[in-house]
Symmetry: D2
Subunit: 365 residues, 4 copies
Amino acid sequence: MTLTTGFLGYRFMGKAHANALDRLLMFFPDAPAIERSILIGRNRDAVEEAADRFGFARVETDWEAAIDDIDVLYNLGPNHVHVEPTVTALENDVHVFCEKPLAPTLEEARRMDSAARRSDALAGVAFNYRYVPAIQLAKRMTDAGDFGDIRRFRGQYLQGWSADPNFPWSWRNDTDMAGTGVLGDVGSHTIDLARWLVGDIDSVMGNLETFVDKRPVEGSDEMRPVTTDDEFSALVSFESGAMGVMEGSRVATGHKGGNRIEVYGSEGGFRFDMERLNELEVRTGDDNGWRRILVTDDDHPYMDAWWPTGHIIGWEHAFVHENYEFLSAIAEDGTYSPNFAEGLATQKVVDAVKRSHSTGSRITL
Amino acid sequence: MTLTTGFLGYRFMGKAHANALDRLLMFFPDAPAIERSILIGRNRDAVEEAADRFGFARVETDWEAAIDDIDVLYNLGPNHVHVEPTVTALENDVHVFCEKPLAPTLEEARRMDSAARRSDALAGVAFNYRYVPAIQLAKRMTDAGDFGDIRRFRGQYLQGWSADPNFPWSWRNDTDMAGTGVLGDVGSHTIDLARWLVGDIDSVMGNLETFVDKRPVEGSDEMRPVTTDDEFSALVSFESGAMGVMEGSRVATGHKGGNRIEVYGSEGGFRFDMERLNELEVRTGDDNGWRRILVTDDDHPYMDAWWPTGHIIGWEHAFVHENYEFLSAIAEDGTYSPNFAEGLATQKVVDAVKRSHSTGSRITL
Amino acid sequence: MTLTTGFLGYRFMGKAHANALDRLLMFFPDAPAIERSILIGRNRDAVEEAADRFGFARVETDWEAAIDDIDVLYNLGPNHVHVEPTVTALENDVHVFCEKPLAPTLEEARRMDSAARRSDALAGVAFNYRYVPAIQLAKRMTDAGDFGDIRRFRGQYLQGWSADPNFPWSWRNDTDMAGTGVLGDVGSHTIDLARWLVGDIDSVMGNLETFVDKRPVEGSDEMRPVTTDDEFSALVSFESGAMGVMEGSRVATGHKGGNRIEVYGSEGGFRFDMERLNELEVRTGDDNGWRRILVTDDDHPYMDAWWPTGHIIGWEHAFVHENYEFLSAIAEDGTYSPNFAEGLATQKVVDAVKRSHSTGSRITL
Amino acid sequence: MTLTTGFLGYRFMGKAHANALDRLLMFFPDAPAIERSILIGRNRDAVEEAADRFGFARVETDWEAAIDDIDVLYNLGPNHVHVEPTVTALENDVHVFCEKPLAPTLEEARRMDSAARRSDALAGVAFNYRYVPAIQLAKRMTDAGDFGDIRRFRGQYLQGWSADPNFPWSWRNDTDMAGTGVLGDVGSHTIDLARWLVGDIDSVMGNLETFVDKRPVEGSDEMRPVTTDDEFSALVSFESGAMGVMEGSRVATGHKGGNRIEVYGSEGGFRFDMERLNELEVRTGDDNGWRRILVTDDDHPYMDAWWPTGHIIGWEHAFVHENYEFLSAIAEDGTYSPNFAEGLATQKVVDAVKRSHSTGSRITL
């Protein structure tokens, strides 16, 4: 069996997933056979050029024309175009791998989750950081009780690419198209990791901020208002009794890929920083001091597929891992996590932070 | 002129301040002459032994007996004994250097601030971290605009000494004696630094938590309830529009002296970690990347008093600096910062976090 | 034009170069078209399986049968099989990309360089670390004079995979097959980087050591003697007057990919560590402190081909870069560096270290 | 009993030892009573000012006038004035604590060691780094076999204070007064630590270099030649079979206090960097990764004397520890290490590196 795939979107995420599919065979020989079948995008010229580069056989400018001819839809477009193609695909029992966050609004996320529940197809959300080997190792150790009862989660995702007020306006700055700003965009990664590592979230308090409130439209004199947040912070309580802090920013001067997770429990803890993606700092048991593990050993998650110990992998390798898992689940009639129910649960936290900001109150989920 | 001093308290803080006074002459020759005159404590034997060790000429078991014979009272006792001796001293125009936090409750802090306003004596709060050279350098650069408009403050103070549930009960675990737990104890350091570096705080949301809710009483079988927090987190908004996150813990497994400050603004930022007290990481202007400054140069704050560049100083050196400034201010009829008004302002934030935790609402100051 | 390629070797290096060729089109669209034509190895079954996985159309068990049908030979086998296929290929004007070190002995390296000089084909040595973006940035800054006159080079390559005395014997432990041990294997990387960054080496003093002097043969009871070094150290003087230190080890307990380069000159310096391959620490001009650059910006070498800033790349990406340069040079009748003359120059330093160890004297090159 | 002391020298080292004596009582109550009796120096005005500041009762401009009136001579002057006062003191059974290196030449070092052997007084060399808690912890773990058989030592001491060619000439730049440059000055620290941690050194190969060969004389137009090294490197073999590399520099741009030690053996290793004096990185047993120990716990060497865990100490605290040990040894008729025999052994290595540089040959000790 060969799975045929269609990608809706051919920019950053399109490139990342195309690369992932291209590498599967060489590194994960037991992955199902995949065909990069149809690349979908509105601008035919750009799509054709991308299809050539990314190895797709056919292009379409209308996603509806593609649905019938593919086994798997990769929904890699902006947030506001997640819902319709996804729901249609699922209704036609086409599997969907959807980029995060699930949708701009809680209502749309609910519609998507409903469609997934009713469908025979598999629906996954591409929270890629779960599939970073260091994070997988952290999860393995957490579940084994190496850190005891988890007491605190701290997650930040700090980027600085929007710190310059002259950085141009995009759909990400528009509340109708994006839902939220940095909160949904990268905060959703933080929330998903928190839920996965520590468990369900009970209540939140949150602040949103927009430091740069208008931006130039590229190629014109227009300044357009920014209606989404460029920074958020939140306090969270987990059902388990653990507490947490979350932060995200696009205007964090000097930060590039500052996706950091810190967790500690009654017996130890761990720390991760995406800028040092191959490292995990841990403290367990009676250890005095934090131990820096270079996560490149054969017995580290997914690492036997790559290079001998000491040779690091890049950010995009997590996409190879998540694609391997998602496609294998399809091939084997298995399940995939994070699924849409989990994507929806994350969306509820996004929504609660936003509401807490407005009301000034702790929101119970 | 020689200033006579009396210390109320002879444990950790007594030792730190005694050491500071002992080192003044050798390293700060223009400091006023100081006499370590009276050491005050309830247990005469213990006080006598400490007086011998710390170089005090006389001991008293009752602070009231000492007030008339000293120029400066160092109030280094537990929080609940801050108010009475301090107010009495100030009413007698005896200068007071008081350990933080100012008091267990906002009401007592107000009484102390009132007394300070009415007194001709100087009243200072010993927020020692302001006098760490790396922090002083950060303040100097912040004020010079090197980081642009400050947008975000992040402060944590993570300790793990209470993570073990068998660590014995102390006055710090009692709400009547301590007021709050980690929030007032080390959170007040974070709040003071935030206010000093970024400005007044406008509103807060906060969570308190007590992970270990009873502890053994040393030398008995009794388990006594813990009525103070062992962990807190808070979101803060500054009057300037900057936002912030604060955290503190005594049960942060694996952390020893994790007093960390991170600030960024529109043009750059800095990072500090007490475990690496002689370092400051900065990013300014168009710099690509964070620069690690070893703050040991002659032109770094206070460092010309110590050793040639490359030779680091310890935690207790900040006490030398703060004593130098406080005592010089007395000798020169100057002012000292942080004073009691600033200590009170910090107490208001402590109080607001506590109230926000209870009410579940954002508290405006 | 499509270049046809044959790979001699299909293990670690075969996989790394096959992956590199596979990724060229997607990330470097202006690279020449490449065909993975023939995979060569002695064990037909193993070669066939690898060919399937690495995307080769045909297999051969005898390299001579392949030479006529390829434009480029990748010589990726053990050191002692470098010379014959390489010389034959060059004599037939087949381009050769040869893994390092050039050969087990200086004499063989000279034969290879001679063949390269007489051939119309291009001959390159695969010193991949030159093509790591952080190292390229260091080279760019060095050449621009950002560090002033270079005074000191420090290079280490520390691995620990052989620290266990039960780690099995291989050809790398045999002086006839490998020439030297860690000295030629990874020391040659260090020497090549030193020569590229600082210039020709004038004289050396060196020590070799073998800490584990026999090892078990896999699948038998035999213990076979180790006749190559598992650790080396050397002092080097450069023609420019700069001085240097080099070290390499396979028994450096706790080290995985410790390929570190430190350089400083009259105006600054830089530091690189392969375990943090996407980082470069620099100090320039009057900067106080070392600046950590995350080398992931669009204007960093090769990085515009990959992902937005903040998303790190892996070790194998340097292979993509070197293949891009080598194959482009073929397509454009250009030159490639490091060529065989440079490979030979490095071999001379390897040889001199070995001789200095034996004679106990400084060897002038 | 109170020990009376005389200090010959009142600059950097005078200040460091005076501070150490001043702190003994408060932190090491069981240390012998000490009197700072006589401060000795040629310039009476400067000495008087220093005596006042450092707490000395009396001053002398001629060391011979002091010898009879003290129990302990601290020889803290430039290298070329080590021999005479030291030998005289020892001949008069006055204890001597002498700054490193023992002497400018091997011959003088031998004279000093002879005098020490004949004397009833105690003779110690002030290699202060042995008394840094992190180094003590490393020694404790090394001796306990935590790292297995030691295979490699790496020591660097990199400073940059002389990188500027306009930094003025001093006695340190003169071979007659200093013996060697950076080799004896800070290289001797590295050698002493190597010998202490790993054992006797068997043979060396070495390079010396002088990058800045003349320097301005302060307050005049004269440029005076630099006849000592400003950088050295050496390869060493230990009697145990371990190997090592050593480096030192005064012109290492960007380095301040880069005194680094790295050791590994068959079972693990450790790393130390003076710029992070309170940290030790270790790897032991089957640990995956390096563990960063903040050496501030009660059960870390000497740390119960200072502050609660998490509160770091400074560079000068090692002087308190070495003085505590040296003076206690006097009071208790004990022994002290490093003694003059060890100082001489280090001097032999210094001398051998110098000779190897000249002859170009490995020197066996």
